[in-house]
């Protein structure tokens, strides 16, 4: 489908594409770190003993008891964020190709806010599981705000795609 606008992306979009790739690399490293730490903390060894004692010193007794669960939870949350960044990279890709108002981007934006909300829920669940008895309510207002903003933007995008379709089919 030929783009109505042949502008092949602004410098900001190109820079964003590069930043997204860098962020995805860092998150991939974080996922590997969390998984490795989680596996190492699952079995009794000197590494586990060191970590547990250091966590106990920070008065975070809940985490010291279930550090491996916290690490696996961190890996899951980081994986969700990696997926979100991958979707965002695809959206920026359509922007660089000159045609962002495509139906696929509407569903991609919807997936982004759903997965961000899901990652936050999973984070809260794993924080409470790993705290072993201590109830921790840690709702981040910033993340909630981000979810609302992206949900609203996805509807704006849907309307934009509809207008784009109208313009294309106006003879």
């Amino acid at each position: 489908m030929k783009a109505v606008n042949d502008n092949m992306g602004t410098p900001i979009a190109k820079g964003l594409n590069v930043l997204l790739v860098i962020a995805m690399v860092f998150i991939a490293i974080a996922i590997i770190f969390f998984l490795t730490a989680g596996l190492a903390l699952s079995f009794d060894n000197s590494f586990k003993a060191d970590i547990v004692s250091k966590l106990a010193e920070t008065n975070n007794s809940g985490l010291s008891k279930n550090a491996s669960i916290a690490c696996f939870g961190g890996a899951i949350v980081a994986s969700l964020w990696f997926y979100v960044l991958n979707i965002l990279r695809k959206i920026v890709g359509t922007l660089l190709s000159g045609d962002p108002f495509i139906p696929e981007n509407i569903s991609r934006l919807r997936k982004i806010w759903i997965f961000i909300a899901l990652s936050e829920i999973i984070r809260i669940i794993f924080v409470n599981i790993s705290s072993a008895g201590e109830m921790i309510i840690d709702i981040r207002a910033g993340t909630l705000f981000l979810v609302f903003v992206i949900a609203a933007l996805s509807e704006v995008f849907r309307h934009g795609a509809e207008l784009r379709r109208d313009a294309e089919l106006t003879i």
Binding site: R165, D166, L169, T170, I171
Partner: protein, 80 residues
Amino acid sequence: MAIRVNLDRVLLDRRMSLTELAERVGITLANLSILKTGKARAVRFSTLEALCRELDCQPADILVYVPDENTNGAAQEAAE
């Protein structure tokens, strides 16, 4: 959509091909096909003027209003 485009009939009467009409009107064959098959969402007055000029006809010869059941029902309700 309730607006039907009768371009086929007019082209047949004028013994003109779609390609020739597209060239005369100044729009692409793809866009004219979209119009002919009823997939267009809107027509510019400038395009309609060009079509009528090249086909020597009136807009009513090309565009016909054929209400569907839903549209007819809504109109009757409004009238009541």
